[in-house]
Symmetry: C2
């Protein structure tokens, strides 16, 4: 992951030296950034818009496994995971802070790789890195990201706005990140048993990328703007479709019908799930980490969403008393249950979500 | 620290259950909070004011030692340390997010104690808890706090505004938190050698509190408002007076003269430092964690600051070429050097700053 010949001990730089070294490449581009890195706090100006704030913690051994997660990807993903929460409010992300706790096993070059991933994500999504904290860690690698964004007051979309009759929609496809993780875990275990065998990920680029390098759906928020679509409720899919549907229904005090045959699953996700003896639908429902946007729109916006290539209508919202149900491909009705990832029940080396 | 008879395993609640349990006591009071905990992001409204953001990472074994830091104090201090950065911009803190990574050794009751400290700090400083993240940790306790605040554009104070001739001022007194830490470390070591000996902290309340339960100086920002004092430059004292003076001078491209005999040191700090064979001035210069405000004001504001009981004038700003110097009690001139805390050079069980 980093060239061990070039190995600068962090102690040589010290905390302030490390911060200077890492942030020398940081540029401020967003109009709303008044002052970025270098003072006690960043100063931002959102004029008449609402300010949006979200934060995530990513811990080694829980959310990521450095045995197969490249450091640059880790930095990139840490940012994406957090920006996704701002887009899930129908907002535009504009700044992040990035904090990192590092054990002494990391040379400066390794930290720089993580920052490269962070800065690539910032560049691509027009987000300024405006602050953070850098510390030693007595144990594993610790990352904390806070995203800041903005939206017009009348554009903000909560989880709680779904109404009976709304169409239930999701962007992209689901289950890929989870199946990609199974593939990486399998290759890791083969490698542990026999280090001479190289990982066999050929032809599986898409689902491996879904796991290692997810893309938050800023483009969907932009699509809403372009087509005049105003969702009633929205959430990002981090813990699996089932868990997120239940969040929206609980917050909105509604029920829903979900059609199994409408859930968008990529052919590679489908085939690879089958190879692992997994039900692709279960992977989509409970796998998590897809970072797609799940949202509801009133029926009069059907014409605006039906022809969007990257949006699937997967069901509709009912009254609360009708419950949350999935109609299976065979026509059976099942209650939707969240069996998504639980960080507190997971073994420490199975990092299946962030 | 918590009653072991009442020990609820976090697994019994799961992540969402734990979040519900911990946040049931959270109230929203700030006018600028539109939406707090419970969605993908918090929504805030600062209308025409600037938004301020600061973040800190606190790691077990680096920033705190659970052998003598009570959990409630830890939660309280984590918030104070971070609010201090907003006050150091001459802003008003209005919201925080609080993220926590927990190893399985912590029962729910322990986590609740940490949150109690967080909420006491929020209540006292009129700050809303609006979000966060809760996760398992494969190793030690991980805390990440982000503070959000606001200020009028013309009131924001940067590190970079100091001008030649400015008075150099500091609030409160310095060195107490560091000397308090020495005391706690000594008693910990005595206890490790002989667990029958109870800690002897009698009569040392003030400096022990300075270490365990620091108070950020919101009152000084309010005092500025009341008396019409507008500092040119400001920073909070987290790494020690010397380090912070150098930050201001570097950012402002100025030099300074600091008078040793003007540095405010509490008598208990002074005496206890002497007991440990430490120079009290060195404790103030390099100890850190005092969370006082260091600032400069133009000379024409001398009348406004000279009679403030909680503000000391400790020197003045010079041209850059004159360097940063301290005039000792004996009249000798020494260059000011930052020998403050370096998280990357510290052994893992000596948590002297946050």
């Amino acid at each position: 992951m980093f060239d061990n010949k070039q190995r600068t001990d962090i102690n040589e730089l010290g905390e302030f030296g490390l911060i200077d070294y890492l942030t020398k490449a940081v540029e401020i581009k967003e109009l709303s950034t008044v002052k970025g890195i270098g003072d006690d706090a960043a100063v931002l100006d959102f004029s008449s818009k609402k300010t949006l704030i979200s934060t995530d913690l990513l811990l080694e051994g829980i959310h990521f496994d450095l045995r197969y997660v490249p450091l640059k990807h880790l930095g990139y993903k840490a940012v994406q995971v957090n920006l996704s929460d701002i887009y899930a409010m129908n907002g535009i992300a504009s700044q992040i802070t990035f904090s990192i706790g590092l054990s002494s096993k990391f040379p400066v070059e390794a930290v720089e790789e993580i920052y490269q991933g962070v800065l690539i994500a910032c560049e691509k999504f027009n987000v300024d890195l405006v602050g953070g904290d850098t510390s030693a860690s007595a144990q594993g690698l610790v990352i904390s990201v806070t995203s800041i964004g903005y939206a017009d007051a009348d554009k903000v979309v909560y989880r709680s706005g779904a109404k009976e009759g709304d169409l239930l929609c999701v962007s992209g496809d689901l289950g890929g990140a989870y199946v990609g993780l199974q593939l990486l875990e399998r290759e890791k275990n083969i490698f542990i048993e026999n280090p001479n065998i190289q990982p066999d990920l050929e032809g599986k680029d898409y689902i491996v990328e879904r796991q290692l390098k997810p893309e938050s759906r800023k483009d969907i928020v932009e699509l809403f703007e372009t087509y005049g679509i105003q969702p009633h409720a929205m959430i990002d899919v981090s813990d699996g479709l089932a868990s997120e549907i239940l969040h929206i229904c609980k917050a909105s005090k509604v029920g829903c019908k979900l059609y199994e045959d409408k859930i968008p699953i990529d052919p590679m996700t489908y085939e690879t799930a089958r190879e692992f003896g997994l039900d692709p639908t279960v992977c989509a429902l409970n796998g998590g980490e897809d970072y797609e946007l799940l949202f509801t729109v009133p029926q009069d916006q059907y014409d605006k969403v039906k022809n969007q290539l990257d949006i699937s209508i997967i069901g509709y919202i009912t009254e609360e008393a009708a419950g949350c149900e999935m109609i299976s491909k065979s026509g059976h009705v099942h209650p939707i249950q969240a069996q998504g990832w639980n960080a507190f029940k997971q073994s420490s080396n199975d990092g299946s979500t962030a």
